[in-house]
């Protein structure tokens, strides 16, 4: 009893007060807007028709969103975007992580690790503007490089496939380093003695990767998939500055469509319903990834 009293010497509520600012901030910037969006999703809530009021309309906004062909088309396009970019980002990220995990060249490796942060630290809108320049038909870097090999300039942003490839490339450029850093942290978790023993046992890098290192990479991969899925579902700035969702609807991802509904048409009711459907989708995907990919290292 005396021991318990001494443990509580700082006061029973003290830990709560330490946590309070973080909880308050989270409630203010995370929970409140989500609850507000939830309420809004059940109302007719058009900011340009304020005079009509904001009556409750039940599930009308959800029905509207789920029966809207554009919603499904843009969601499908977002899924395709994720399937095109994620494997490349993970693959290149793993390759970079393995290279950086090699012994030796300490200074260069440290420099490379720091430089990996640069794309991550670049603002999305700036990535989009850079992409607009890089893929410009007449003075873009990509066409200049293609020109060295005798290829005619391609009109990247002016045709649907080219524009999709361009936004995917910029996404890969920005997020491959993130995957590399996650994998690198996974590789650094492998006990040195086990890795060294394995290196003595086999000269095969593939065997080392699959039998020794891979188990330590699964948790990182799961986190990466969860974060990137959520991120792709809300990817807006870079694509908007690069193509505005065009040409046609070639690069109109779901977030761009929701932005159009929310901030061009100002139908906040439908936009909130769409956003909450995406939240449900994100949670479902996260659960799926954990079930399929997550493995505790024994």
């Amino acid at each position: 009893m005396a021991r318990q009293t001494s443990r509580l010497a700082y006061g029973r509520w003290t830990p709560f007060w330490f946590l309070a600012p973080a909880v308050f901030a989270l409630a203010l910037i995370g929970v409140y807007p989500t609850l507000f969006a939830l309420v809004t999703s059940f109302r007719q809530y058009n900011l340009t028709r304020v005079r009509e009021g904001f009556p409750f309309v039940g599930f009308d906004n959800y029905v509207n969103a789920l029966t809207d062909p554009t919603f499904w088309q843009t969601l499908g396009r977002t899924g395709l975007f994720f399937l095109c970019t994620m494997p490349i980002e993970a693959g290149l990220g793993l390759l970079a992580a393995l290279m950086l995990h090699q012994p030796g060249l300490t200074m260069l490796r440290a420099l490379a690790r720091v430089s990996l942060v640069i794309p991550l630290a670049t603002t999305y809108a700036v990535v989009g503007l850079l992409g607009r320049l890089i893929f410009n038909r007449d003075f873009g870097v990509v066409n200049a490089v293609l020109g060295w090999f005798g290829f005619a300039p391609l009109d990247w942003l002016g045709n649907p496939t080219g524009a999709f490839v361009a936004i995917a490339t910029m996404d890969i450029w920005q997020w491959t380093p993130f995957c590399a850093l996650i994998f690198l942290s996974g590789l650094s978790m492998v006990p040195v003695e086990i890795e060294e023993a394995a290196r003595l046992e086999t000269g095969s890098r593939w065997a080392l990767l699959t039998h020794v290192q891979l188990p330590y990479l699964w948790p990182g991969l799961t986190a990466m998939l969860i974060l990137r899925s959520a991120d792709v579902l809300k990817l807006f700035d870079s694509v908007f500055t690069m193509t505005r969702g065009g040409p046609g609807a070639a690069t109109e991802l779901i977030s761009i469509y929701i932005q159009r509904v929310g901030f061009r048409v100002f139908d906040m009711g439908v936009a909130s319903a769409q956003a909450l459907l995406l939240l449900v989708l994100t949670i479902a995907l996260a659960r799926l990834y954990i079930r399929v990919f997550y493995r505790e290292v024994d």
């Binding site: 028709r49 005079r51 038909r137 040409p247 048409v265």
Partner: protein
């Protein structure tokens, strides 16, 4: 400049606008400092764009602030974000005292009560310039940019007309000593001779990036001159009419003479295309004249020519665009009155010459009668000619336009890319547009058919 502001005019002008009863029959000296004295220290908040007209007024602002003691805080925002910021500010009872109103937002802003009609302020002689003279604006501009339902809400500030900018030297090399007078001539005569794909040179560029650029600059420009229109008299789609279909198919044919990837070209690319000698002709807003004449941003130099937009089967109906400044209803009364003084000053005859010299385009008629202005700026004559006749509803100005504009932008781009046919795309736009207009109440007599 200060003395100019204090003693603008002693000439006798008639305040001719009906409804502004307090305006004196005899023009008086407008002592702006005296009028603004009760509002000294008032801060006004307004959005400006990063365009020549705004940079021009920014240069002149210190004179206004010094004379009146009213501080104008402007926030420079990209056009695409402007409406969003203003709507959120107005619905959230924010701090904007002045609304920057694109002509296609006037219906939405007025019907929602976000902007106040000017009559309340214009009838107060203590804050109204005796030389306000609304008839001194081009009627088309005042009507299109500032008027809704017969009431004036805003005064034309940043004024554009679509013009044909062309490279005289390129035209001359191809054997032309003047620009095309008609769209057919541009396509059938000038197009083939001025296009050399091997040299990456094209006769014409029509900015068509998805967004307002596609819906306004590209799509609507293809309808009106050929006799087409978006809506018929009952507010149903008119896109399947013979004239509208002709206009949209004409745009498809014209693409042969445009650079590849034109659907990704915004204003900057089109202006740059002409400035760097890649295209021979563009139809762009008059506001881009300073960009094309500035040696830092343009190589075209003396080769630049400016003409009215070509005529179509329905005559010369050039694109019409621009912004007015209106008083925000949400602002406190003191700010509103200070805002009224600022708006009058910014759009006045008194500063029109300085404004034009600083790179702006005034909406006042008198300034363009000045021979020195005509001689100095080659865009003036074609622009004034374009403003003599035009359609205020070049783009409908009702509140439903932003939603309709999104649909046009999507299907208009798809038509140009060949992802849908002109006919099918027109049907798709029509169906979706009519659904919006039905929801708005235009088909059951709930709303007057104003556009």
């Amino acid at each position: 400049m200060l003395s100019f502001l204090r003693n603008v005019s002693a000439a006798a002008l008639i305040m001719a606008t009906a409804g502004f009863a307090a305006a004196p029959a005899q023009a008086e000296t407008w002592d702006i400092a005296k009028a603004a004295a009760p509002y000294k220290g008032t801060q006004l908040n307004v959005i400006f764009l990063d365009r020549p007209g705004y940079r021009a007024i920014e240069k002149l602002l210190p004179d206004f602030e010094k004379a009146t003691g009213i501080k104008v805080n402007y926030e420079v925002v990209p056009y695409e974000n402007t409406r969003q910021k203003e709507v959120l500010n107005f619905t959230g009872q924010g701090d904007y005292s002045i609304a920057l109103v694109d002509l296609v937002w006037i219906g939405e802003f007025a019907e929602n009560g976000w902007i106040a009609p000017i009559d309340k302020f214009a009838s107060d002689a203590s804050i109204t310039d005796p030389n306000l003279n609304l008839k001194g604006f081009f009627p088309l501009l005042l009507d299109a940019f500032g008027t809704w339902g017969g009431k004036v809400y805003g005064l034309p500030f940043d004024n554009y007309s679509g013009l044909l900018f062309y490279n005289k030297c390129m035209l001359k090399s191809a054997g032309f000593d003047k620009p095309p007078g008609t769209w057919n001539e541009l396509k059938d005569v000038y197009g083939p001779k001025l296009t050399d794909k091997a040299k990456n040179q094209y006769a014409y560029a029509l900015q068509s990036l998805r967004g307002e650029t596609q819906s306004a600059d590209s799509f609507m420009r293809s309808l009106w001159p050929h006799g087409g229109s978006l809506l018929d008299k009952t507010f149903h789609s008119n896109l399947m009419s013979k004239e509208s279909q002709f206009g949209l198919n004409f745009r498809q044919e014209l693409m042969k003479y445009m650079p590849p990837g034109i659907v990704s070209w915004d204003h900057a690319e089109a202006v740059n295309g002409l400035a760097q000698g890649q295209v021979a002709m563009i139809t762009e807003w008059s506001a881009f004249y300073p960009t094309l004449t500035d040696p830092k941003t343009s190589k075209i130099g003396d080769c630049l020519g400016v003409a009215p937009e070509p005529a179509g089967e329905a005559g010369r109906l050039p694109a019409l665009g621009g912004f007015s400044l209106a008083i925000a209803s949400q602002a406190p009364e003191k700010e509103q009155k200070a805002a009224w003084i600022f708006i009058q000053w910014a759009t006045s005859d008194a500063i029109a010459k300085d404004y034009v010299d600083a790179g702006g385009v005034s909406g006042r008629t008198a300034i363009y009668e000045d021979p020195s202005i005509k001689a100095k700026y080659s865009f003036v004559e074609p622009m004034v000619a374009s403003w003599q006749k035009g359609v205020p509803e070049f783009r409908p100005r009702f509140p439903a336009w932003p939603a309709i504009s999104e649909i046009i932008a999507e299907f208009g781009s798809k038509m140009m890319l060949g992802e849908t046919t002109v006919e099918q795309g027109s049907k798709d736009i029509g169906t979706r547009m009519e659904a919006i207009l039905k929801k708005e109440g235009y088909y059951d007599g709930k709303k007057p058919l104003l556009q």
